[in-house]
Each structure stands twice: as structure tokens, then as C-alpha cells.
């Protein structure tokens, strides 16, 4: 299925004058040509107390391109950038992609051996790194003498122009992902894919140009790179870099962002801290929270609305340059991950979402066997179980590999059942899984993490008993094969992945 009217769908949520300025581009070079021409003296990046305008950033990246040129790197060569979020990281990245290189933004937590392994797997020609990672790159320097090394803090010797012959098909970045099979790998994204993801990020907010963003997510995560950095630059906005996450609320108080890009766990933390210290930790100018990378609870959407902030949930993958769909109707359809963005085609096969589109990756780097699993007839198989409603809104109902096949032959999608329990305001998160008793009998079990901020408000003396009663009521309302035979209210949170998703139990 195709959504021909997708762009028009999003038009009604945007200021008409600004909507005309949201134009699709083929390459980052095309985008940067516009940025440096239109936004010259506007502040682009604020880092460590220093404001860099678009013109200054343009000058710095044109100098930094000389480092790549002097090293003999040519169009298509792959370089890694290994640093924490900083102005210099952005400079090295933009210099690379506008010079025609393919830049792998490497997670800062990689150890020295993994860094070396990644440089081999991605076939990197060079690594740009920050001074603080000198020790971490020492092993790669010794083990791979052909690899070139550059400091991101360096300036370069002379100005070098942007590449003039890039097309949308030329490689742009390699992003780390666990992918649909759980093994770490690099998704190769073209200029066209990155630009489609960047433009998609413009849809859903009434005013999107000249906004103020705070950067909290790592740029090695596609949500940070595409929605937080690239869309901010595309729209002439200002990006304030939060150097230490513990300082995010101090940075918010200083900078007063208008848009925040957050994972749901941080969005919930901000709410709870605001309540605990009885003041608005989110800043008085905040209008939108773009929330993704994990499941967004409907509770969060309504709580943010009470503060006058629109929390927009979306759905995306590293493999899709982040954004597949976004939900500008999050109040009306809080369980949906939104309406599909333009230039994509969808197919639902056995309830699994398959995608083709301008935003899709060109495959995993150096892993033909993973690509074999990931694609069928050119369609990327997301591994996500979905449905569309009558208005074309998308809902995630589970993950393929999470499906529980009961001895009766019936299939249970845990996420589809959990949504009923998660709808209780006293439930922060839940997990339905298959367990086995001492007699070898398989059964469905449910574990629940309570939302104590809401549960503490109820009048019942025994709050745990109250919650158990509420959970039992939900359980009773389910079809027999989906009912949990054992319900446990947890004392602690679930173990989670770095993206804050629940690490699913594998008990059977």
C-alpha cells in the first residue's frame, strides 16, 4: 500500500508559510547549500558556552574538509567519528558527508578492541577521534597501520569546497544498530535516505523553522543524528549540546528549548522531577516533545498536554533513517505511532510490516547473511507486527520473535495484551511471557512495574492489593487464551536495553 496523500496529510498541522519551505533534497550538500545561504548569522550550535553561527560552522567544516583531502580520501571512502556529542563531532561529521565521504558515527562507549573490530567490519579508511579517546584508539593505531587518524579538535589547513557530484544514491552514514535479529551491525544510509529522514522530521509541529533544540541523545543513535541534529539544521534552528545528562534540566533552564527529542523514560523522569521539586523542569518555552525509540505510554501524552506541551510519538528504525511515521493526533489516537511519512510503500505479511522507500537503508555493511534475512524481494522486513486503522494510522502490536505460540496453536502477541494493562494509570510497564512450572506445564505470566506516583494517590490502605485487583479485572476481560495465569507486581524496574526497551524474558 502507498500513502499518496501523505505530505498533504501533514500540511494541515503546519503553518502554511512554513510548510512551503519544507522541500525535499537529494543530498546533504544540497541541504547545506541552503542552510549556509539562508541562515548565515543565525546561531546553529551552542556548545560549552560558545555560540557558533551557520556561517562560522560553514567555515569550520570547509577547513576540516582539507584534513580529509590532505589524507588522500576520495568520494565514497569510509571514516569513523569517535567522540562524545560536541561541536567538533558535528564539524567532523558534516565536513565528511559534504566532502562525499561515508561517515560512521561510532558510539562513545566502544572499547578499544571493539573499535578495532568495527574499523575492519566497516572497512574504514580513517578515524576522527577526540583527545579524550587517545587511549581507546591506541590499539587500532598499532593493529592497523593503514588506518589514518585525525583529531576532531584540529582545524585544517585551508578551505576546501563541498563535493559537486553527489547524488541521492551515494552513501552518507553508517549507523550502529541491534537490528531486527539482535546482533550489532552497521546500517548503510544513503544521502537520499538521510535527507528523507531529515525532511520527515519537519512534519507534525505547527512552527518548525527557527526553533531551539537541546541535544541529549547521542549522535551515534539515529534518533539523535537525524531528528535532533539534521532536522534542527535543516530548519535554521539552534542546537544546544547537553554535555552531561545530569545537567539537562540546568541546560533547559538556561536555553529554554522549544522542542525536545527524548526517549519516553526521560520524558517521564522530567515529569516526576517537576512534581517532586514543585517547579517546571521543562522550561516555559517548551512546545513539543518528540518521543520515540521505545513505546510511549498514553499516560505521558495526556500528562504533558496538561502542561500545555504536545508530546508527539513516532515510529522508526535505524534502517529507515529513523522516521517511518509520526503522530500529530496523539491526543485522539494515543496508542498509535502515527501516520506514515511520504515516499514509502508498505506491505503487511502475516501481520509483519515490510517497507520500501526513499528513507530505507542500502543494507547492513559487510554482513551478507544478515541482509539475506532482512530482505525479501527488495522489501525490508521490520520484524514489527502492525495494523493500520481506517484513517491510515499505524499501530505496533508486537515483535515477530516475541510471539508466543501456545500448545493450543494459538498465537499471543505480548505487546497486544500488555497494552490493556498499561492503560491503567497505575502501571508504568508490563511484560507478558511464557513460563513453565515444575510439572513442565507452560503458562502465561505477567509482571508489572507499578507507577508509584499514581498509585500513591489512591485512597486504599493496601495499595498493592488495590493494584492487583485492578490487574485481575483487566485479566478477566481478556479472551481465555490471552489471560495470565500468574501476575506479579515487581519491586524494581525490568532490565532494559540501552534504548530503554524491556529486555524480554526467554524462559521457554
Amino acid at each position: 500500500m502507498k500513502f499518496e496523500n501523505s505530505r498533504q496529510f501533514f500540511a494541515k498541522y503546519c503553518d502554511p508559510k512554513e510548510f512551503k519551505r519544507i522541500i525535499e533534497k537529494d543530498t546533504v550538500v544540497q541541504m547545506w547549500e541552503s542552510c549556509r545561504r539562508e541562515f548565515k548569522d543565525l546561531p546553529a550550535i551552542i556548545d560549552n558556552g560558545v555560540t557558533h553561527t551557520y556561517s562560522e560552522l560553514d567555515e569550520d567544516i570547509s577547513y576540516y574538509r582539507s584534513i580529509y583531502k590532505n589524507a588522500g580520501l576520495v568520494k565514497g571512502a569510509r571514516v569513523g567519528v569517535f567522540a562524545r556529542n560536541s561541536y567538533d563531532l558535528i564539524k567532523a561529521y558534516l565536513a565528511g558527508v559534504t566532502y562525499g565521504l561515508c561517515v560512521a558515527i561510532l558510539p562513545a562507549h566502544l572499547d578499544e578492541k571493539t573499535l578495532f573490530g568495527v574499523s575492519k567490519m566497516f572497512n574504514l579508511r580513517g578515524i576522527c577521534y577526540s583527545n579524550e579517546f587517545e587511549e581507546k584508539v591506541a590499539f587500532s593505531k598499532k593493529a592497523n597501520p593503514t588506518l589514518k587518524f585525525f583529531k576532531i579538535e584540529d582545524k585544517g589547513t585551508s578551505k576546501v569546497e563541498m563535493a559537486t557530484d553527489l547524488t541521492k544514491n551515494d552513501s552518507c552514514v553508517i549507523m550502529f544498530t541491534g537490528g531486527t535479529t539482535g546482533r550489532s551491525k552497521g546500517a548503510l544510509l544513503s544521502n537520499g535516505a538521510i535527507m528523507q529522514g531529515t525532511v520527515n522530521g519537519c512534519y507534525g509541529c505547527y512552527n518548525i523553522f527557527n526553533q531551539r533544540y537541546l541535544l541529549i541523545l547521542p549522535l551515534s543513535h539515529v534518533f539523535g543524528l537525524v531528528r535532533n541534529l539534521m532536522t534542527a539544521l535543516y530548519t535554521g534552528s539552534t542546537l544546544y549540546i547537553c554535555r552531561n545528562n545530569k545537567d539537562m534540566f540546568k541546560d533547559i533552564a538556561i536555553f529554554k528549548p522549544t522542542i525536545l527529542v527524548l526517549v519516553p523514560a526521560v520524558a517521564e523522569m522530567a515529569l516526576n522531577l517537576s512534581r517532586q521539586f514543585n517547579r517546571n523542569m521543562l522550561g516555559e518555552d517548551l512546545k513539543y516533545v518528540i518521543c520515540g525509540a521505545a513505546k510511549v505510554a498514553p499516560y505521558l501524552i495526556s500528562e504533558y498536554k496538561k502542561l500545555g506541551i504536545n508530546l508527539l510519538a513516532g515510529y522508526g528504525l535505524t534502517e529507515s533513517a529513523n522516521l517511518v511515521s509520526g503522530n500529530p493526533e496523539s491526543l485522539k489516537k494515543p496508542d498509535s505511532v502515527g501516520y506514515p511519512y511520504p515516499n514509502q510503500e508498505f506491505q503487511i505479511v502475516d501481520n509483519e510490516l515490510w517497507i520500501k522507500g526513499a528513507n530505507m537503508m542500502d543494507g547492513y555493511v559487510g554482513l551478507p547473511e544478515e541482509n539475506e534475512i532482512a530482505y525479501e524481494d527488495g522489501w525490508f522486513k521490520t520484524g514489527d507486527l502492525v495494523r493500520f486503522d481506517e484513517d491510515g494510522f499505524l499501530y505496533i502490536t508486537g515483535r515477530c520473535k516475541e510471539i508466543i505460540v501456545l500448545s493450543s496453536g494459538e498465537n499471543v502477541s505480548p505487546a497486544e495484551v500488555e497494552v490493556f494493562f498499561n492503560a491503567l494509570p497505575y502501571v508504568q510497564d508490563s511484560q507478558l511471557f511464557e513460563d513453565v512450572d515444575d510439572n513442565g506445564q507452560h503458562f502465561l505470566a505477567l509482571e508489572v512495574v507499578p507507577r508509584m506516583s499514581e498509585l500513591s494517590k489512591v485512597e486504599a490502605k493496601d495499595k498493592k492489593a488495590f493494584l492487583m485487583e485492578e490487574l485481575n479485572k483487566v485479566n478477566e476481560s481478556l479472551p481465555p487464551f490471552e489471560k495470565a495465569s500468574r501476575i506479579v507486581i515487581r519491586e524494581t524496574d525490568f532490565e532494559r536495553t540501552p534504548a530503554m526497551k524491556i529486555k524480554r524474558y526467554q524462559k521457554c
Binding site: N244, F249, A265, M269
Partner: protein, 84 residues
């Protein structure tokens, strides 16, 4: 100047505000209690704790990461060090 007991009690208040269901367990929390293994704190809750410490004690913890505190003792030591 805060005493160790005052800091410990303040820390317990933060832990309760993060998860009111833990209130009954706070009597057992001592300086040797480990934040992750014994209290079940995850990366986001550690971040919550560090931010709350700065707010509650009105101090700047400097350039620490959420993984720099292993036990309650480490946390109290650091709070007392920066409150001087």
C-alpha cells in the same frame, strides 16, 4: 555543614520519592547498600537520583557520570566533599 546522618536521611527521602513502594525497606539501607545490586536502580533511576541530589542539597556534583556511585557510602562521601 551537613552530617553524614542528615545526608543519608536526605538520600533516603530521594529514594522514596523515586519509588514510594520502597519506603518500608529504607530502615535496612546502610552505607554499604549497593545502588544497583541491592536497590535495583537502573540507568534512568541513577540519573534521577543524581539530579535530585543536586536539587535537594543545592550542590553541584561536577562532571560525574551516573555510574560513578556504586554504594550509598560513595554517594554520601561525594555529597559531603562537594558541600564543603
Amino acid at each position: 555543614m551537613l552530617s553524614r546522618v542528615e545526608v543519608l536521611n536526605g538520600l533516603k527521602e530521594i529514594l522514596i520519592s523515586m519509588d514510594p513502594s520502597k519506603e518500608s525497606e529504607m530502615d535496612k539501607v546502610s552505607e554499604s547498600t549497593r545502588l544497583v545490586e541491592d536497590l535495583g536502580l537502573m540507568s534512568i533511576s541513577l540519573l534521577y537520583m543524581v539530579i535530585s541530589i543536586e536539587e535537594k542539597f543545592n550542590i553541584e556534583l561536577g562532571d560525574v557520570g551516573v555510574n560513578d556511585f556504586i554504594t550509598v557510602k560513595d554517594t554520601i562521601d561525594y555529597i559531603l566533599k562537594v558541600s564543603k
